[in-house]
């Protein structure tokens, strides 16, 4: 380090402020606006300190400011514990450090904090765009580090950037080897997830009555890759959770219904194999088709035949599953508790719906007939599929079924379940996604957040749980063609995101570009973000043909050394450039002249060479003379010490002027072309 008493030079301060901005940018969108204001304040104060206008804050002020930002963090996050609050606090301290930075060592602390903050941004967002931006951030931070080491008074930001860039480039191969080879182990201890990453899309409960305008995002929920061609759209019901509890307004999950080993079921029909890749939702639910099984030990099959992760997904996950869509689920009868859960209805709500159910029950003795009748009711009555339903009052099911007739999947699924239960048929709402877009490039299905859907499962004796989709009766095109088609008259498809590429998927090239980008994202998620212990094992198995840790370890070390040594050699290779600047200038000029077919001859002195050049390039005569004068002076009439300090830069300057003056190509010799006819010249 430089002498401890040295101050932080102005140049370094510029570096530090730049480094801070780039480290902070990825975090700012998540944080309240005043955080940016705090940074600005600190920066201005710091600059004023540097200009000797203001002073460092005193101890009292420091304490007050610290208390204020702690309070601010508490108010913004609602807690001081947990990752979000910790990161926010860290960011604020990172800014305040500016006001406490007196020695070069403090500057180092700022840069190290910056490196840490660059890494923490990835806990909240792992997109390709952020990864690219953070490469840039690292470059700036490393360049700042180089800038701090440069000799004071001889700082050169451009050179610092170049040095940093070269070193980072040299680090890349080794980084890649480490990335692939470093053993991935499970978490050392449980960590809580950053809350702001929790995705919208699926919620744990569903309250259609309160929704006046359902905003749907065009974000991707997950991808499914099939072995072979994907099943048709109308069979793609991706189950995420069941919502058996109803309190008169909301449908929600029931731990009693979900927890526990799966009930009896019989696999039937053709299996479908697929692999699903989904992002870190920080929720335990994953997606599967009906009748799913998996060998993935991170997942478990619930009592309600839903696949679920054992732990909330704090990272991208890729899993294989096999589904038997035609299976019989619990065909032999429901346990009494399950019977009760799936028939439960709150008292004092929706009398008209109950009466309607009783009427249906009187009319149809068999459950299957009753269900058919109910579905045709949806089909024949003037129901309308919309994302802008009216809000509903206390008896929401009644109002929807008999008055408004307008709603989206949640309204239909909720109402149908209500009526079935009122008629004594065990039923529940299933939430998940329906359909998806087939990406022909990757042979996989892209399921977006706007594909979120709700439908109904009813239990029939002998058949077990059977799925019904009342939305299909109202808007079959929603199921067969997707949401965009179903809403073509309403214009509410992704109306909140006018720039979403999904909106413009009917334009050919936009769609192609989007699908290509999607494929890149898929590979990113699968191969980069998803490169954890299981994929690493796969990789070793494939390339080394073994899962023996000892062999893997030795091979890794070998590869690491093989990568480290060439890098070391490359950095330490002898400099190949001419020994001194004077010779370099000479060589540079002659290389350039060679392109003009002018070559210095062996034994030709500089003056003779100059003479020849002046004849060949009469227009550049004066620039040539200036360079050669400087060269001759330097070579024959200057002591070495003097040379280095004054004359070499002068020579280089003359060279630059001369090079600029030289023609790009050899001027055509008029004599040779003169005799040729015009049309020949054109060829």
């Amino acid at each position: 380090m430089m002498a401890a008493h040295a101050l932080i030079p102005r140049n370094s301060l510029v570096w530090l402020l730049t480094a801070q901005i780039v480290a902070l940018i990825p975090h700012l969108p998540r944080l309240p606006l005043w955080v940016a204001a705090v940074w600005l304040g600190c920066a201005v104060w710091r600059v004023q300190i540097q200009r000797m206008h203001w002073n460092y804050p005193g101890l009292l002020l420091q304490v007050v400011v610290l208390a204020a930002v702690t309070l601010g963090t508490y108010l913004a996050q609602g807690t001081l514990i947990g990752l979000d609050a910790a990161v926010m606090m860290l960011l604020l301290l990172f800014m305040l450090k500016l006001l406490e930075m007196r020695k070069p060592r403090d500057a180092l602390v700022v840069i190290y904090l910056g490196l840490f903050i660059v890494a923490t941004a990835f806990l909240f967002n792992q997109s390709i765009a952020l990864a690219i931006f953070q490469c840039f951030s690292l470059l700036i931070l490393i360049a700042a580090l180089v800038g701090l080491q440069q000799t004071p008074g001889r700082n050169d930001p451009v050179r610092a950037m170049r040095t940093a860039g070269v070193m980072l480039a040299q680090a890349v191969p080794l980084m890649l080897v480490l990335f692939v080879m470093f053993p991935r182990v499970g978490p050392l201890w449980a960590v809580n997830a950053p809350s702001s990453q929790a995705r919208t899309g699926l919620a744990e409960s569903m309250t259609p009555a309160d929704v006046a305008d359902l905003a749907r995002s065009g974000e991707l929920a997950f991808r499914a890759a099939f072995d072979g061609s994907p099943p048709p759209q109308h069979l793609l019901y991706w189950r995420a959770m069941t919502l058996p509890r109803f309190d008169g307004r909301s449908w929600s999950q029931s731990p009693l219904s979900a927890a526990g080993a799966p009930s009896v079921w019989q696999a039937q029909g053709e299996p479908v194999d697929y692999q699903i890749v989904t992002g870190a939702s920080h929720q335990p639910w994953v997606f599967s088709l009906r009748g799913a099984t998996t060998e993935d030990d991170r997942l478990l099959l619930n009592r309600d035949f839903i696949l679920q992760a054992r732990r909330p997904l704090t990272q991208n996950i890729a899993y294989h599953a096999t589904s038997y869509p035609d299976s019989l689920l619990e065909p032999d009868g429901l346990a009494p508790l399950q019977q009760r859960i799936n028939l439960q209805l709150p008292e004092g709500f929706d009398p008209r719906s109950r009466a309607f159910a009783a009427e249906l029950r009187r009319e149809y003795q068999r459950d299957a007939d009753l269900i058919q009748a109910l579905l045709s009711h949806f089909n024949q009555q003037p129901f309308h599929y919309t994302l802008r339903p009216p809000t509903l009052g206390r008896h929401s099911t009644d109002e929807f079924l008999f008055d408004s007739h307008r709603g989206f999947c949640a309204h239909y699924a909720g109402a149908m379940t209500f009526v079935l239960r009122a008629a004594g048929i065990p039923a529940r709402v299933v939430a998940g996604y329906q359909g998806g877009e087939i990406n022909l490039r990757g042979n996989h299905v892209l399921v977006h957040q706007f594909d979120a859907h709700a439908w109904v499962e009813a239990w029939l004796p002998g058949q077990g749980w059977v799925s019904f989709d009342p939305t299909f009766q109202v808007a079959p095109e929603r199921i067969e063609e997707g949401l965009q088609f179903a809403l073509r008259g309403e214009g509410s498809f992704l109306e909140d995101s006018p720039l979403s590429a999904v909106r413009y998927r009917n334009i050919g090239w936009v769609n192609n570009a989007r699908l290509f980008w999607d494929d890149v994202n898929y590979q990113w998620q699968l191969r980069v973000l998803g490169y954890q212990s299981d994929r690493q094992m796969d990789f070793f198995q494939r390339w080394l043909g073994t899962a023996d840790w000892q062999r893997i370890g030795l091979t890794s070390l070998g590869v690491l050394l093989l990568c480290m040594l060439p890098i070391a050699w490359w950095i330490l290779r002898p400099a190949y450039r001419a020994a001194n600047r004077q010779q370099r200038a000479w060589q540079k000029l002659n290389r350039r002249l060679a392109r003009l077919q002018l070559q210095v001859q062996t034994g030709e002195g500089p003056r003779a060479w100059q003479q020849r050049l002046s004849t060949a390039l009469p227009r550049q005569r004066s620039e040539i003379a200036a360079f050669f004068d400087a060269y001759v002076l330097l070579t024959y009439a200057t002591a070495p010490d003097e040379a280095s300090n004054q004359h070499v830069p002068a020579l280089e300057q003359h060279l630059a002027v001369l090079l600029r003056a030289l023609p790009r190509r050899r001027p055509p010799r008029p004599t040779r072309l003169a005799g040729l006819p015009d049309d020949d010249r054109e060829r």
Partner: protein
């Protein structure tokens, strides 16, 4: 006991170093002469990396892993860049001028880089403020280093530490070089009255001396050591050769300076006193001779004579 052990080991280290990097007035830094270790900033970085790695493992976050590995790889790359920044640098000792004890010795030095640029090269002796320079490719950088002196005699500054932390500050590469500098340190001059001229006598002498300087006597051939001020430039410009002007010096015989005349409790003080006399007489241009036990310099005046006298005083009693 421990201190003796430490002393012994440092002696061993010295001997080893002497064999590895022998004293030379010019040398080139290469792998035999360069040592490299992680600096404190580098240790700090490793600590940071460990913390980040734990985060990457706990959050199973591939991109945090990527940041950790990028910085880890950069650590490895930085090691070589720091080494390379020092390797190949040539160090030359250039001249040094004698000084009086108590002054700072000026040690001339040139850093020569044949092919590569060497940035932020720090030179320092233990416990002294560092000096940082850049050496451009194919260039010489000359500079003077300062070293405080205390005692007369030959000054041999210890090994100079030439180090660099460029470009990242994570490593420190250094060499301990002995550029074989030798600086003659004259005794610290004391301002005391000349021997045998007490009270008014000295003032009179001054008076007479001033007159003597003005009293032009003639010319003689130039001899090395004659003051430039007394050269007959006009004659030289006419092409008549280089001559020195001689001034009358009738009032004073040459004065002998003897060690036993010098007051002072210790030899050092006596020598300092004599050095003071030499300077004083030289300023007056009054011939003086020096007589030390075992050494005798005939009376004369001039820069060369003064240097010879001061040198004799500086090295009196010092065997080397």
């Amino acid at each position: 006991m421990i201190s003796r052990l430490a002393g012994q080991s440092s002696g061993l280290f010295e001997r080893w170093l002497k064999k590895r990097i022998p004293a030379a007035s010019q040398l080139r830094l290469n792998h035999r002469r360069i040592f490299i270790m992680p600096a404190r900033a580098g240790m700090g970085l490793l600590l940071l990396l460990v913390i980040m790695l734990i985060g990457a493992i706990n959050y199973q976050n591939s991109l945090v892993y990527a940041v950790v590995f990028t910085l880890g790889a950069l650590f490895w790359v930085g090691l070589h860049h720091t080494y390379r920044n020092l390797a190949g640098l040539e160090l030359h000792a250039t001249g040094s001028q004698p000084v009086f004890a108590g002054e700072e010795a000026q040690l001339g030095m040139a850093l020569v880089s044949e092919r590569k640029e060497h940035q932020a090269i720090v030179m320092r002796w233990p416990g002294m403020p560092p000096r940082q320079v850049d050496v451009a490719a194919g260039m010489n950088t000359t500079l003077a280093l300062y070293y405080p002196t205390q005692r007369r005699g030959w000054l041999r500054p210890g090994r100079l530490r030439v180090e660099t932390r460029y470009p990242l500050g994570w490593f420190v590469a250094w060499s301990l070089v002995d550029l074989d500098w030798q600086v003659l340190v004259y005794p610290k001059p004391l301002d005391l009255p000349l021997p045998g001229m007490h009270g008014t006598g000295e003032g009179q002498g001054d008076q007479q001396m001033v007159e003597g300087v003005d009293d032009f006597q003639g010319l003689r051939d130039y001899q090395p050591g004659d003051s430039k001020k007394r050269l007959d430039w006009r004659a030289w410009s006419r092409g008549q050769g280089l001559h020195s002007k001689i001034f009358a010096d009738p009032q004073h015989d040459s004065q002998w300076l003897r060690l036993e005349q010098a007051p002072g409790q210790t030899l050092e003080l006596q020598l300092g006193c004599m050095a003071g006399w030499v300077l004083k007489l030289e300023r007056r241009r009054q011939p003086y001779g020096l007589e030390l036990p075992g050494a005798r310099i005939q009376p004369a005046v001039g820069e060369a004579h003064q240097s010879a006298c001061l040198r004799a005083l500086a090295l009196y009693g010092i065997t080397e």
